[in-house]
């Protein structure tokens, strides 16, 4: 196994482009090292991106948007004084991952690039409209989070490409987001269903919405029908029922040891409703 710790993303990209065999980037390592130890994936090349300047920074830009370094951890996000005020849903989704120990290592980018359909931060990022900068041999490109995963364990990144930054849009006024997951226990578990909602209000009426579901299909889903079900409503019962129905209809889940098709389909609707209510309350300025 070869271990590298490049000083720039260009160098990291070049190392990956020239590597043979299985290559992994090492962010927090909470997926990579676990897979290594359990002999699931034994990489030949390990490229540690944590030595690159600025990779742990969390910065609010002049336009109110946010740029997060790819090694910023869950704990650093939760402890940030203002990020969670803007994007409580994204921060709480990241915070659901693992335990205190895991929080000290785990990153948004690792969660996204590991490619698990059940990754917790991903539906929250999709609902929030997060994009990432992909650095590759041909330079940089901007990609929406929902376009990164292509299937369980797979991403759209090509050989030599890696993510070099995470961008969260400016929150703006009268808006809120939320993420909920279903697990049979209270913590240390993997999402059987996840639902992220971000919305904006004009008075009591929803004017913008993005609804995303996790663990109910091979990749995270951005469900237009869910957004349409609540845009223009005051999130009354009829709108909530329509939202739940649209969420359930969008599911393409599997039966496995963690849940059944019927269960995931039903609970996706329930969680979409519950997350929407929280996002709505947050948009109204209620402290949830």
């Amino acid at each position: 196994m070869n271990y590298h710790s490049p000083a720039s993303f260009a160098e990291a990209s070049a190392l990956a482009a020239n590597a043979t065999g299985i290559t992994r980037f090492l962010a927090g390592g909470t997926d990579v090292l676990v897979q290594l130890r359990s002999e699931l994936v034994t990489p030949e090349t390990l490229i540690d991106i944590k030595k690159i300047d600025g990779v742990s920074d969390i910065t609010q830009n002049a336009d109110g948007s946010w740029t997060l370094g790819v090694a910023a951890t869950g704990a650093e996000m939760s402890e940030h004084p203002t990020l969670g005020r803007d994007w409580p849903g994204v921060v709480e989704a990241m915070d659901l991952i693992g335990s205190t120990q895991i929080q000290g290592r785990a990153t948004l980018t690792g969660n996204l690039c590991n490619g698990s359909p059940a990754a917790d931060s991903v539906p929250a990022m999709v609902a929030a409209g997060v994009t990432v900068t992909v650095t590759g041999p041909g330079g940089d490109r901007e990609v929406a989070v929902e376009d990164i995963p292509t299937g369980p364990g797979k991403t759209s990144l090509t050989k030599g490409e890696l993510i070099s930054a995470v961008h969260i849009p400016a929150r703006g006024d009268n808006a809120g987001d939320a993420y909920l997951r279903f697990i049979p226990r209270t913590e240390m578990d993997i999402a059987v269903v996840g639902a992220g909602v971000s919305l904006r209000l004009d008075g009591d009426t929803v004017t913008e919405a993005r609804v995303s579901l996790g663990a109910v299909a091979p990749t995270v889903l951005l469900v237009e029908d869910c957004a349409e079900a609540i845009i223009g409503s005051t999130l009354d019962d009829t709108a909530l029922e329509a939202l739940a129905a649209a969420a359930s209809a969008a599911c393409k889940p599997i039966d496995d040891k963690r849940g059944t098709i019927a269960f995931r389909t039903e609970v996706a609707g329930v969680l979409a409703k519950r997350a929407a209510k929280i996002a709505y309350a947050r948009a109204k300025g209620e402290d949830l």
Partner: protein
Amino acid sequence: MALDDRKSDFTFVGTRPNRPDGLDKVTGRAKFGADISAPGMLHGAILRSPHAHARIVKIDTSKAEAHKDVKAVVTRADFSDKVEFKPGLSGEFWNVLENVMASDKALYDGHAVAAVAATSALAARDALKLIEVEYEVLPHVTDVDKAMAPDAPIIREGAADYSVPEGMHPNVVRYHESGHGDVDAGFAEADLVIEDSFATEATHQGYIEPHACMGSLGSDGKGELWCTTQGHWIAQKTCAALLGIETSQLRVTASEIGGGFGGKTTVFIEPVALALSRKANRPVKIVMSRSEVFRATGPTASASMDIKIGMKKDGTITAAQGIFRLQGGAFPGAPGDMTAMCAFAPYNLTNVRQVGYDVMSNRPKQAAYRAPGAPMGAFAVESVLDELCNQLGLDPVDVRLKNAAHEGTKASYGPTYERIGLVETLEAAKAHPHYSAPLKPGQGRGISCGFWFNHGGETSVSLALSEDGSAQVMVGTPDIGGSRASMALMAAEVLGIPYENIRVTVADTATLGYNDVSHGSRVTYASGLATIKAARHAVEQLCARAAASWGIPADAVKWENGCAVPSGPNAGDFDPRPLADITAHMGATGGPISGHFEATPEGAGVSFGTHIVDAEVDPETGKTSITRYTVIQDAGKAIHPTYVEGQYQGGAAQGIGWALNEEYIYGDDGRLQNSIFLDYRIPVASDLPMIDTVIVEVPNPGHPFGVRGVGETGIVPPLAAIANAVSNAAGVRMKQLPMSPPRILAALKDNG
């Protein structure tokens, strides 16, 4: 034992001092199974079958043997039924050997087929990949009902014993039937008869410490074994048999143990380490991964059960019948008989009949798990009782009180009860504020009783006094629940010296006589009884030394508050002689003073408990939370109440896991799908409510201080109590465990 022999007022017993092993454990100084190493030590690793059922056509170990880091490779050919000096193992030893290393067939996913010893753990793991095994995959079965069906693949022809009726599938290997009265007549007298079927999945004991050992065995047949175990004498006996050496030539030391719950009462890796060591001529250490623990060590049995109970409108049970089918993996041993015998044991029944089946399937060999077999039966029986109470509009505690077994009751499984404490636990339940606390909407309450036999077993204890008046006690039962503290308290009580002046050690097999395993809730009872008797033995000698120094007969001296005193005014007027005063001179007055006791005590005293549970079910997701839990159990006499409470709380915590989310999940390929803690869902701390406890004390006539074992009964009621709470909260009877959210949501949907 005569009642007047029994003590009832105590100085030390019943207090709550810190455990003597506490400091070592919190500072990391305590040595557990994997904390051992030795000069020249090698690391062992075990190759396991990826198939649920397969013929082993050929094993080629040559490439592994040729590797520079590999010092030994073993297969079944290296164990005693295949080596010349001890051919033909039989009975349970053969079963254990067959489980430890497969012979002609791999019988379950994870079954050991070969092992290597190499210079590092990583090298050993990599060397396994060099062993080539050719398998012929056979049809498999993992479900108990399917394993009994006529077309089921046969696990092993001829494994059934004499008890199995003609015409049953060869996978049914043992049959039990018992009871009394006429159940048909009883059902005819009932106002309501409910008949229903129930199922539970296999669960693992889930001890936090994986199996680990280091074995060393020379060509002279002398060996040393260090291992995490609930019983090192059984490990000694079994390993010696499996390796064809003399029992006494193998010295076994038990490490500190990180939980066992019954799962460490047998051997898995220990004989393999010794076989590797014998071949490599160096010590070999093996540490299981969690996935190996799940795949290849004992989970409990899974069960399928049919219950029929008749009740009168006033709550009197007129008849009860149960059929219990237990699957215990690819070997005989599923406790179908225990399930049957315990199921109705809490009740005073005129007509009762129970049948138990022990069924083999392609799963790992089941191992004991606290009150083996009893929790499943209680789940089925107590669910039907709850439904009868609901349908007849009766209070579930009152109905159980009305039918409760008491002293003189002929038990459902045969004997007549001595003094027992079931009624007291039910009365305590009724009086407990929990039972009358109002429930919120969406919540339900469940109660259940539970029974376990408890066990005595072979026991040896030795106690030696030091010149400074302190005492050392050697016991042979590994301390899995704070037993060193309890032993010290009992010895302190007899000797009359402070708890802190007594050091209790778990002795190795070379330094004490045979001891049965720490199982059957026997340790505080049996090792405790032996400790008391050994201390009394020492006291007799202390009194004799004092008598000699005073020039009076030994029987004119008695022991009081740690001192020898004249037994009465006629004996003479002498100043009391404290223990330390006598021991200071013991070398010159007759030599060292020790006490011993060896026996197989028979008066373990059965034990009962009653649990009260509140559960809340989210009707939209089927998710359950346990909002309140109270355990009430008869301890006879709580020697160290904190550790008694710990046993009660632990039973409830494990029961919550078993009831709600824990299960062995097999794929269509017969492979275990959830062999890590991520997907084998034991409760995390935040899943549990504060578990309240009530210790009832109805002294056991068979113990000098009245002790009844408490280690197992606590896991008997939870499955049923939780199922009753969940069913009452959800408004639908849950008949299958675990009651995972998908199952509850599906039941709610089916119910409309």
